[in-house]
């Protein structure tokens, strides 16, 4: 079990994490959501020791992580940053082999090699195992990195914005794989997500952050409600239910109200098509309006 106690972190004068305490739910997907600069990625970095912290403690099964050797932590906790490009020529199979480094220091035994093959099979990478990473598409590259941390064979996996730079198709594929990690392999997953709807659709728990503090946490169905989300994102949310899951509509609330708005439990096609359209067409307007709002707040 991973437990975070009263973690503080700041860059320069601004506080990025302000007394964060959290217990991570086992064998489940926890999504950390929040606006830009709320401290989501910093929290993830601090838990996984990628980033230093000013004060606070992270415990794993009662051990203070500060006192555990890096090698041993790497057998329990794996972390992956958003899709990345590498400066080196390396093929998929060799990259996945690095997942065994905490166990063998680079000298792979037959057991290690078997784990690598398993990871390649699981992520469906056997056909492209000899391809160089820089020749792959974004989705394939992401799968190769996920295979690496799968070979690392850790009970805990932390992912920082795993859907960044991925098309919708690959994003959904990625979330399904992550779901399979929990149901089939019994892993515990924590991920930072930008899109609240991906969190609503795939996460079990949601941790919402605002201004370096935890603004709320709980099971996904409790958290996806206008009362909670409006405060976290400073924006008006409209929630519809579909197939027992909640979907947030946050595109252009004014015009929807004018047209009578949506009623709950819409048929799926209508909602999703409409949602997508709005996402593309109104994306800019949404951002600009948000800026206006911020500007106003500053002058007041």
């Amino acid at each position: 079990m991973i437990e975070i106690k009263d973690v503080h972190q700041s860059y320069g004068k601004g506080k990025v994490l302000d007394g964060v305490s959290l217990r991570i739910k086992e064998n489940a997907i926890t999504a950390i959501v929040g606006a830009n600069g709320a401290g989501k990625s910093t929290l993830l970095g601090v838990i996984t020791r990628i980033l230093p912290m000013i004060s606070g403690e992270v415990f794993w099964d009662g051990f203070n992580l500060k006192q555990v050797k890096s090698r041993e932590i790497a057998k329990k906790i794996a972390v992956l940053k958003q899709t990345q490009s590498l400066n080196i020529r390396i093929n998929v199979a060799d990259l996945v082999e690095f997942g065994r480094f905490p166990y063998c220091g680079g000298r792979l035994s037959d057991a290690d090699k078997a784990k690598v093959e398993q990871a390649l099979d699981y992520m469906d990478l056997q056909l492209i195992r000899d391809k160089f990473i820089d020749e792959l598409s974004g989705g394939q590259r992401q799968r190769a990195f996920i295979a690496m941390i799968l070979a690392q064979d850790t009970p805990y996996i932390f992912l920082d914005e795993p859907l960044n730079n991925l098309d919708i198709k690959y994003s959904v594929e990625m979330m399904k794989i992550i779901r399979k990690f929990v149901t089939e392999l019994g892993k515990t997953i924590v991920l930072v997500l930008h899109d609240i709807n991906f969190a609503a659709a795939y996460a079990d728990y949601i941790v919402a952050m605002k201004d370096g503090k935890i603004a709320g946490e709980g099971p996904v169905l409790d958290m996806i409600s206008p009362e909670i989300l409006n405060g976290i994102f400073d924006h008006n949310f409209h929630i519809v239910e579909h197939d027992g899951k909640k979907v947030c509509l946050y595109y252009d609330n004014e015009s929807r109200r004018k047209h009578g708005g949506y009623t709950h439990n819409h048929d799926s096609e209508h909602v999703s098509r409409h949602g997508d359209e709005h996402a593309h067409n109104r994306g800019d307007g949404f951002a600009r309006r948000n800026d206006d709002k911020k500007g106003r707040r500053h002058t007041v």
Binding site: I50, E72, I90, F98, F101, P102, R129
Partner: protein, 338 residues
Amino acid sequence: MEKQRRVKSSSKRTAIIFGILFIVIAASVLVYIYSRTFAKSNRLGLPMTKLAFDSIMARALPALIGMSIGGFLIAVMSQAFQTATESRVLTPSMIGFDSVFVGTQTIIVFIFGASSKIFSNAYINYLISAGAMVIISMLMYGMVLRKNKNNLVFLLMFGLVLSGIIRSGSSYLQLIMDANDYMQVQAATAVTINNMNTRIIYLAAPIMAATGLAMILRHRTYDVIALGRVNAKSLGINYDREININLLLIAIGMSITTALIGSLAFLGLLAVNISREIFKTHRHSVLFLGAGLFAVIALVFGQAMVELLQAAVPLTTIIDLLGCSYMFYLILKENKKV
């Protein structure tokens, strides 16, 4: 089955390339010895006696050893530095490591005088310059490199300015110091591969060999560091400690190679990139050895050619010219990518 065949063929290819490289090195060594002995005697119309041969070899052999180990180490250090900074362009000398050597020499003489033991005793002198370089490089890394890893232009500018400041500061000190001291500093810092400081070869060779070996033995760690900070940490590398060890080794190695064979700014860049292009691998065991051998060939063969053809252009100039053009190409290419 097919995979095994592919692995076999690629490691076979690597072995063949290494074989060729070793043959080329052996040939270069022979050509180098020939150029300094028989070619010279032919040119001068003198017979090549056993005595003359021995006396030439007594000077050529230390030079050969210095060039080989020095060139090899420069390439290994450049590769390690590029891995740690995740860059294909930077090398230690580019951010001013070798000008630090000139600076420390000047300051030692300025403060203690050329006749003092601290300067004239090669061991004490080396310890002090290496120590100064270790401290300066650690400071530099802590303040500049760590935060600006991805800002290539800034780092190059920083290196340029740093070496500019140190060099002009040194020449100012040299200007106001005693004439005799000045001559001594000049002799210690105007080292090139033509004018090697063979006086310290028996101190330098073991240190250089040990530094190079330490880096090569750590090749698996470098493999992981090359994946970037986050991945390396996730895989259980104590990243900050490893980077500090790396810098420490580079500071030790740079101070001793600069003292022995002088500054070779672009040799490392060329050797590292050639080996990377040819071997197309991420394994540092191969990359280190490959880059090192290319550097040895460039130095020994190049020096042999310069002697043989009685070229008026020193080898360093040729290497700098090639390396400089290649660096332009790299920078332009990197710019296009962004």
